[in-house]
């Protein structure tokens, strides 16, 4: 459960600055970016996602490393990404 999954921001929700659409390993989903309110999160930025929340901005190098490490973890990575993808949390609005 402690894994961070890197995702790339596609859009920030114009109606709700706490939500962003991200691309995680080729699949899109919505996450909460409220914890990064003090930093500007813009389309194209990479973020580290933990339990549906962006924890920190990271650069592309770190994102690729994190992805590669996760992929090597096999089962736990697939479980985590699947959980992220099927998680209904994005429907909660602030």
């Amino acid at each position: 459960m402690c894994l961070g999954i890197p995702g790339r921001v596609v859009t920030v929700d114009p109606d709700n600055a706490h939500l962003a659409r991200v691309d995680v390993n080729g699949v899109g989903r919505t996450i909460n970016i409220g914890l990064l309110e003090d930093e500007r999160v813009e389309p194209g930025d990479w973020v580290l996602i933990h339990v549906g929340f962006a924890m920190s901005k990271i650069d592309e190098a770190e994102a690729r490393l994190a992805l590669a490490s996760l992929q090597m973890m096999g089962g736990s990575f697939t479980d985590e990404v699947e959980a992220l993808m099927t998680s209904p949390s994005s429907a909660i609005n602030r």
Partner: protein, 382 residues
Amino acid sequence: MKFVDEYRDPVAARRLVAHVTDLAGDDHFKFMEVCGGHTHTIYRHGIEHVLPESVELVHGPGCPVCVIPMGRVDDAIAIAETPGVIFTSFGDMMRVPGGNGSLLGAKARGADVRFVYSPLDALRIAVDHPDRNVVFFAVGFETTAPSTAVTLLHARELGLTNFHVFSNHVTIVPPIKAILESPDLRLDGFLGPGHVSTVVGNRPYRFVCDTYHKPLVTAGFEPLDILQAIAMLLTQIREGRCEIENQYTRVVRDEGNPRALKILAEVFELRPHFEWRGLGFISQSALRLRPEFAAFDAELHYKVPGVRVADPKACQCGEVLKGVIKPWECKVFGTACTPETPIGTCMVSSEGACAAYYNFGRLHREAAVTLGRSRTQSEVLV
């Protein structure tokens, strides 16, 4: 795979290992990696086998699933078995054994226990089921706690009355202190946790050098990150320095994430004490909901037994979590205790030392024997 190659480059690894070997010389050093993510990397990449004998790594208590005591799992089960409750938990926690079995067992007996990925999923379930009471089993260090805090702020805004949080959030500094105070362990320094530090920053670790005169280097999760952090620790020691350094500047900032810390403080307060599996009671080491959020506090809303349950006799998780013994030195490791039928928590999560060693350790021992330790050290690093 450009970046990946850079951080797994065998030539660079060999160079770093040689550097570490030089720095260590004839002395013996014992460093603790606090974070379960590091433990995983260390076993996954066979780092213990490329390091010289003079540098020993011991695994610390930084796996949030591993440190939840049996009694709290029993409390969770008691809440889950309350009629009308939907009990939600991260997947790993569902398999953790308490005195009264695991949450999966409760589910099999008919309790409505559901796996969630995010605390927001639990909130979503509460919104969708206004006629049911939804409880979220919150576990995790400061990495996870801000997400629970934001979820509680949402719940308050939505005016929900059927959503409660059973908080088992813990904080990273007190167990490090407990380990430094522990008489059975002599450590020369720490690899500081990576992801927790994105939230708390590096400042809270200052006491490690100020009071205990040990160096700490916050490290990333790639094999070369770990090796480099070890070299940084040894360099400090050789130069007579003792500082908090940050190897993982790619992600961790010294000040952490001030917004996350602010939200944490708004929603949570420190408990006077909290029991850790294997480490016993540690004061001010865990978070509970502030009185302003009492309406969402599962511990106030449900009857929880709150009984302290001793770990099974055979279980040596406490010693593993303090780094006193290695996973394979536990009497039941790999026999009675396996990831399929865990006796202790360290065998449950992939970040637990026992599970990590069970999955990868033997492999690397074999690899090291076959390859010959000195000649092709870095080949284990793939």
